[in-house]
Symmetry: C2
Subunit: 210 residues, 2 copies
Amino acid sequence: MATDSTGSAPGAGPRTRRRADAERSIASIVEAALAAFRRDTDATMADIARTAGVGRVTLYSHFPSREDLLDEVMRRAIDDARVVLTALPAEGLPAREALAGVIRSCWQVLDRYRSLHAAATRVLGPERMRAHHDEPMAAVGALVDRGREDGSIRADLPRDWLLATVYSLLHAAASEVEAGRLPAGEAAAVLEATVDSVLTPVRSPAADSR
Amino acid sequence: MATDSTGSAPGAGPRTRRRADAERSIASIVEAALAAFRRDTDATMADIARTAGVGRVTLYSHFPSREDLLDEVMRRAIDDARVVLTALPAEGLPAREALAGVIRSCWQVLDRYRSLHAAATRVLGPERMRAHHDEPMAAVGALVDRGREDGSIRADLPRDWLLATVYSLLHAAASEVEAGRLPAGEAAAVLEATVDSVLTPVRSPAADSR
């Protein structure tokens, strides 16, 4: 294994080199965990150590519990979402169109991490999972606010509830695909149609009969 | 504590009496667990033993793990749903109206068990939680099928996905109330309006302009 000058600056002291080694093994553990959870929701710490090619002592020295590891893996998954969302041309688009793009991108990322979602929910619990999503949900929230102002998104239901429905429909789609009840190829379109129905302002019967 | 003739038939042997004692302590453990989870999602086995007034050895002899206990508690919660759903006058009502009644009743039961839901999801995982709900979801499924036949429920999205949205919106409402993001008093109406938007057949633009 190249533990030396490849990763550290030439002439770096043993301390810098030790830190670089630690960073490399953390990175390979997180990669291995992502791969392991992609294959199997119930992947154990031993599976992950094996996939990462590190000893269990090393694994536990960085992540004392499955909970700590899943917290870190969730952070990396959300980082992916940030990269995808930052690349979107949100400025200038109508709120509703921009929101459809955000939800489509969130789904792409989530679809990649379907089995991680089940594992992490079990270990971290629903509320900590939701907290991990604060940043992408803030992007959804800003567009929902804009859409409520311009009349393209319904204002008869609480704003936070609309966010909760978007969040839960996205994750329901991931669970349904994972469980084999929704074909993966249909999920994006089905999700888009459903979110559309939830967010569209309700036409009152009076307005219909005019 | 009355351990004797009160619970068993007169002249019952020691074995029958022992079984009656065990049933009584299981019942008090399950009651205590329900009360404990209603107060606190993170209730421990020690909290539950204390509330039930049984020793930890007794608790663990009936429920070797928190997982076993939560499985049993979930079964009792679903029993409550069965009682409520069986009392509904489903026959003769239009599908859509009957379904609204079923969802309202499911919400009443779920609302009572909000913090249990969070605790159980964490311990049992999303898929086992969903399996616990097979029976009430079958009642929802039968009405969704009837509504798709008579045209009162949309048929452009997969049936199983419509069930998944009903399931996840009900549980999202419970989580949101539990987290303090949705006022408890508004939840039933907000949920009904949302489910309505998801299930209503989408009017094509062509039909509108006719």
